[in-house]
């Protein structure tokens, strides 16, 4: 039944007459076959998403066999950061909400993981059960903080929202100092060492196991975020970002969309913090500084806003660039005092320069420099893939409208 006939509850003839008038081409034919085909496209998209996630995860896990322990440690760090940058990219890229405090949300996840893991260790729980329960607690804690932030974010825009999130990350050391009994003050918290499960102990080293866990966590987080991005929630987010009034006039509850986006992004950041805590067996405020929080934003911009691949590229840059710079300066046989001054400062300088160069050359980030097929950009569904046709001359040139 057509739009019009459903409106009135009348038969199809009325609708057909409207179509005939509108198109000037006679009675339109409801394309039910096309409708079914496009509806099933969504199912295929989901299957393709899951398939892609499984293949990439298997490749990443397989790749750990080719890497030495330190590289596997770096890979685990990339995976942990990937969780946070993917959430941040979704938040900034799809809803236009700028958060400068995602490091604090990672810290919430890290502390949630550490506190729960330590409590479970004291209760005699260990292994997979401890990991699973601790990570659930981390997700819950970061989601709760994200929800509260999101409620504020729904009422704030641009620099005001950025200011609130900035305050969060600045306040983190003070919070850990005030609640030093529970949070360990400046030293933070240490957690019990998670060894390789007995069944795998003869096959892989602990760094490889940690990389597997981190890759698995990142795969789950990024698959969920990708599903949100390509589904109706992603459509609502983009509509709210681009034209909030138009979105609201079409029944989109813009406030809820913003709160949801912030909460989901916080949960992703919390997952990253929890994985980082699992890998490093510790969490402390020194790991989640303002500089690191800004670095997360720089990473998603360099990689490509709103893109999961861009978030991954940004995470790789965060981990590899300081290491690469350290390796190069170490090989240059510089004076000791200069090496000391450069340490920590040079990477920041290079990150700034890289940000400028990338945004000048590729406004869509490094992802934008990759060929479309390699960058995994969303493909247009078959029904919507007809080539653009020249626009008919439907706009009058400077036509007076006042009668």
């Amino acid at each position: 039944m057509s739009v019009e006939s459903e409106l009135s509850g009348r038969g199809a003839s009325a609708a057909d007459s409207v179509r005939a008038s509108a198109t000037g081409m006679g009675v339109g034919t409801p394309s039910s076959a096309a409708s079914v085909a496009r509806a099933s496209t969504t199912g295929r998209r989901r299957t393709r998403l899951l398939g892609t996630a499984l293949v990439l995860t298997a490749l990443a896990i397989g790749g750990t066999f080719l890497l030495d322990p330190y590289r596997n440690y770096q890979l685990a760090l990339v995976a942990a950061y990937f969780c946070a940058t993917a959430g941040l990219s979704l938040l900034i890229g799809l809803t236009g909400q700028l958060s400068l405090g995602h490091a604090a949300l990672m810290a919430v996840g890290g502390y949630g993981y550490a506190i729960t893991a330590n409590a479970l260790t004291d209760a005699g729980v260990d292994g997979v059960a401890r990991f699973a329960l601790a990570i659930l607690a981390a997700l819950g804690a970061s989601g709760l903080v994200g929800l509260l932030l999101g409620l504020a974010a729904a009422r704030l825009r641009g620099p005001y929202l950025a200011g609130v999130t900035l305050a969060l990350v600045i306040a983190l050391p003070a919070v850990t100092a005030v609640f030093s009994g529970a949070l360990g003050g400046d030293q933070g918290l240490q957690i019990a060492y998670d060894d390789v499960p007995p069944a795998l102990a003869t096959i892989i080293a602990v760094e490889q196991w940690q990389a597997w866990v981190a890759i698995g966590a990142a795969a789950v987080v990024v698959t969920v975020l990708s599903g949100i991005r390509s589904g109706v929630l992603g459509l609502r987010m983009r509509a709210v970002r681009d034209d909030e009034v138009a979105a609201r006039l079409n029944g989109v509850r813009a406030g809820r969309v913003k709160v949801f986006a912030f909460t989901v992004s916080a949960v992703a950041a919390g997952a990253g913090g929890a994985v980082l805590c699992f890998v490093t067996q510790s969490v402390s405020p020194g790991a989640y500084t303002l500089a690191f929080s800004l670095l997360l934003v720089v990473a998603v911009v360099i990689g490509g806003l709103g893109s999961m691949l861009g978030a991954l590229l940004g995470s790789v840059v965060i981990v590899l660039l300081p290491w690469l710079i350290g390796t190069l300066t170490g090989a240059m046989d510089l004076p000791a005092d200069l090496t000391q001054r450069l340490s920590g400062n040079l990477p920041v300088l290079v990150f700034g320069a890289l940000l400028i160069v990338v945004t000048l050359l590729w406004p869509a980030g490094i992802r934008g420099a990759l060929p479309a097929r390699l960058s995994l950009r969303r493909r247009v569904s078959p029904a919507a893939s007809s080539p653009p046709t020249p626009a008919p001359p439907t706009t009058a040139p400077e036509q007076p409208t006042q009668e």
Binding site: S2, V3, E4, S5, E6, L7, S8, R10, A14, A15, S17, V18, R19, S21, A22, T23, G24, G28, T29, P30, S31, S32, S35, V36, R38, A39, T42, V232, L235, R236, R238, A239, R241, D242, D243, V245, A246, A247, R248, L249, N250, G251, V252, A254, V380, A384, S385, S386, P388, T389, A391, P392, P393, T394, T395, A396, Q399, T401, Q402, E403
Partner: protein, 238 residues
């Protein structure tokens, strides 16, 4: 006829400066009402007040017997009140397909939504050739069709249209207004059409309301308005 939309002594404006002064209207179910007046008369403000984008200082908006005073913009839309704002308000970064889907997200499940989008393509055939084009790639006429299609996809009972003819070729204006009239005739859709193109608007309207400086100065059948030379000359400029 029972009024579908009642506007009861609305006073509204921006920043404490009223634009509308105790405006009252009653729009019957299935009517097309042309809202006429010069620039600054308050047409857009009245539409924005009805849709909830502007909060009135006093007065009420009642849709089908329900007072909308405390109802949000989003929920007014979900109650069957659709608006196509001036400037077409197409989400420029979304494709034609996505814009249309956006309009029906709250109402339909996935399969129904796909069918409803196809119905709009049947209604506005030129859009079906531009499904993958972004909003900013469309011509003015296509954008107006898209904005109208997105507004009616959720099957509203009341449609508010703000200057749909602005900047469009006469052929396209005639096509869009023709669709409105047919929708009203065939489905009972009620339309409040704010328009400066007086002759085009009154040609399809049952009733005309003239606003001047935020007050209603005439509320008559369209044919009467057209035949009242003094009124046309004083308020409509021809």
């Amino acid at each position: 006829m029972t009024p579908l939309l009642e506007i009861d002594a609305i006073t509204a404006g921006y920043g404490g400066s009223p634009v509308l002064h105790e405006v009252g209207l009653a729009i019957p179910q299935g009517a097309i009402v042309a809202l006429l007046g010069a620039n600054g008369a308050g047409k857009t403000t009245l539409l924005r007040t009805i849709s909830g984008l502007v909060a009135p200082a006093s007065g009420r908006v009642v849709l089908d017997g329900r007072d909308l005073s405390s109802v949000s913009v989003e929920d007014r839309s979900r109650s069957g009140l659709a608006q196509v704002p001036e400037g077409r308000s197409v989400v420029a970064e979304l494709t034609v397909d996505e814009n249309l889907r956006l309009g029906g997200l709250w109402r339909f499940d996935r399969r129904q939504l796909t069918a409803a989008v196809d119905e709009i393509y049947d209604l506005f055939e030129p859009l079906s050739r531009r499904r993958a084009a972004s909003g900013h790639q469309l011509s003015g006429g296509e954008r107006q069709m898209l904005a109208l299609g997105r507004a009616i996809i959720a099957r509203p009972r009341m449609l508010l249209l703000d200057e749909p003819s602005l900047g469009l070729a006469p052929r396209v204006v005639a096509q869009i207004l023709g669709v409105l009239r047919r929708l009203r005739d065939d489905t009972g859709l009620t339309v409040l059409l704010a328009e400066q193109n007086v002759t085009s608007a009154l040609a399809i309207a049952d009733h005309g309301v003239v606003l001047s400086l935020g007050s209603v100065v005439a509320d008559r059948p369209a044919a009467e308005l057209l035949s009242d030379g003094a009124l046309r000359h004083a308020y409509l400029g021809f």
